[in-house]
Point group: C2
Chain length 239, copies 2
DNA sequence: CGCGACTTTGAAACCTGTCAACTCCGGTGG
DNA sequence: CCACCGGAGTTGACAGGTTTCAAAGTCGCG
């Protein structure tokens, strides 16, 4: 499990937010300054829609604080949570860079503040700035790889496998406590499970002594080794 | 349904193959010439492994003729078919561009010929060539969008929805005949179904008069309207 | 306090995977 | 030429995991 590094304070400068973002890691100060100069601040109250799919993309968003829920809406009203974006993560990058309509919706799962780089200014900069292009290109490649893994998880793992993998990949503090981001129903949906199944799996893990519930939506990992083992395999309970 | 455009002859020059490829659409002649100069020919007999996941990426592949199966292998031996690549399609682009290990395996589902652009030469070129960078950047963005759709399909649709969508999106000739690419078991696996379920769904569609089987692995669409309707919705058989 | 959203829990229904048998087809070798 | 074989595809019966439905419990908030 990853050890949570910094605990971020809310008021950060645009430059700090952009620097904290994985997608822009590798840019030098000059490059970042260019992006910072284009940045626009956005704030969203909990539950507020940020954008709707099929619309033109307003820009590339970097989360400063809070939690953003990116989800895809099917014609019949079903929705699937693609990402829960916390501080330092980006969303709508793909549409902003590719220059097409938004493939998904987003709203604020918790009160959230973002830095937005408008699509047109980003495009202008991309036309001139070779280094930025390359940086985003490799960033995008990582992004695809991430999706391939997500796809594999949903396709090849059963409920237990998906949940344990989520826990195993989640950041935790030094004592092994994991703060679940967002509501359980959103997490469950992201794993393509119902909240009921999610709940049941968690209980089974607790009964087996692998985890314990703390109050306040946090989970304490007791048997990290078994958790790893469970998250490593998939389907078939054999062996 | 898309109308199949050209039927390609096998022997094409490297330049023609690269031009036919969606990822490189938008490049001018000079740019394409640069890529062509780096190109290496590869041929694979049916069933031959092309590469194995976790290896270093040899290069970016463009399919000239035949069919390539790209799939991910889980630790327990299960596999999931990510793509069936026909003529004009690329694979291993992500790893070649991002410069990391291959996230998936590939083999020849049918005898196949490919044009390969070696990773190191591609990287060299990307370092210098701004236009190529931009082109691949937007290409990559489309690629991500494609994955989001694939994810949505598998997450939000039931077996009937996935199969009808496959049929609806498949290229057909003017009379509405669809040539299924590759073996049914591979197609089924790509949709995250077993071949048994795939077969049953197809039969149900035939019983309802939506499609008819021709011999020779091809399908004749009778009621395109109903097919569209079925492919548009998901889960729940209601209405 | 009381409403509403989230979570938990149980029972039943459903879809899909698994297992097994059978057919069909192409290739091999006697 | 034909018997034999193995892989792909079809079909049926069955089991199992998840969803669905329903109800009760919990938490936060006006």
């Amino acid at each position: 499990m990853n050890i949570q590094s910094r605990s971020q304070k809310s008021p950060r400068t645009d430059e700090e937010v952009i620097r904290s973002c994985g997608l822009f890691r590798g840019l030098d100060d000059t490059q970042r300054a260019v992006l910072t100069s284009m940045a626009v601040r956005k704030r969203f109250k909990q539950g507020t829609p940020i954008f709707v799919q099929e619309e033109a993309c307003p820009g590339l968003f970097v989360v400063d604080h809070g939690l953003v829920r990116v989800f895809r809406l099917a014609p019949n009203g079903q929705q699937h949570v693609l990402h829960l974006c916390g501080p330092g993560q980006t969303f709508a990058e793909v549409a902003a860079i590719g220059g097409f309509a938004l493939p998904a919706c987003a709203d604020a799962a918790q009160p959230a503040g973002c830095v937005m780089i408008p699509t047109d200014r980003l495009q202008q900069e991309l036309a001139l700035n070779h280094q930025l292009c390359r940086q985003l290109l490799t960033g995008m490649a990582f992004w695809v790889r991430h999706f391939v893994q997500l796809l594999e998880d949903i396709a090849l793992r059963d409920a237990m496998g998906r949940v344990t993998r989520l826990l195993y990949d989640s950041p935790c503090d030094a004592s092994g406590r994991i703060q679940l981001p967002g509501a359980k129903k959103d997490l469950a949906n992201h794993l393509n499970l119902t909240s009921e199944t999610f709940s049941r799996v968690l209980r089974r893990l607790a009964e087996q002594g692998v985890i314990e519930f703390d109050q306040d939506r946090s989970v304490h990992v007791i048997d990290a080794q078994q958790l790893e083992q469970l998250s490593g395999q998939s389907q078939n309970t054999d062996q």
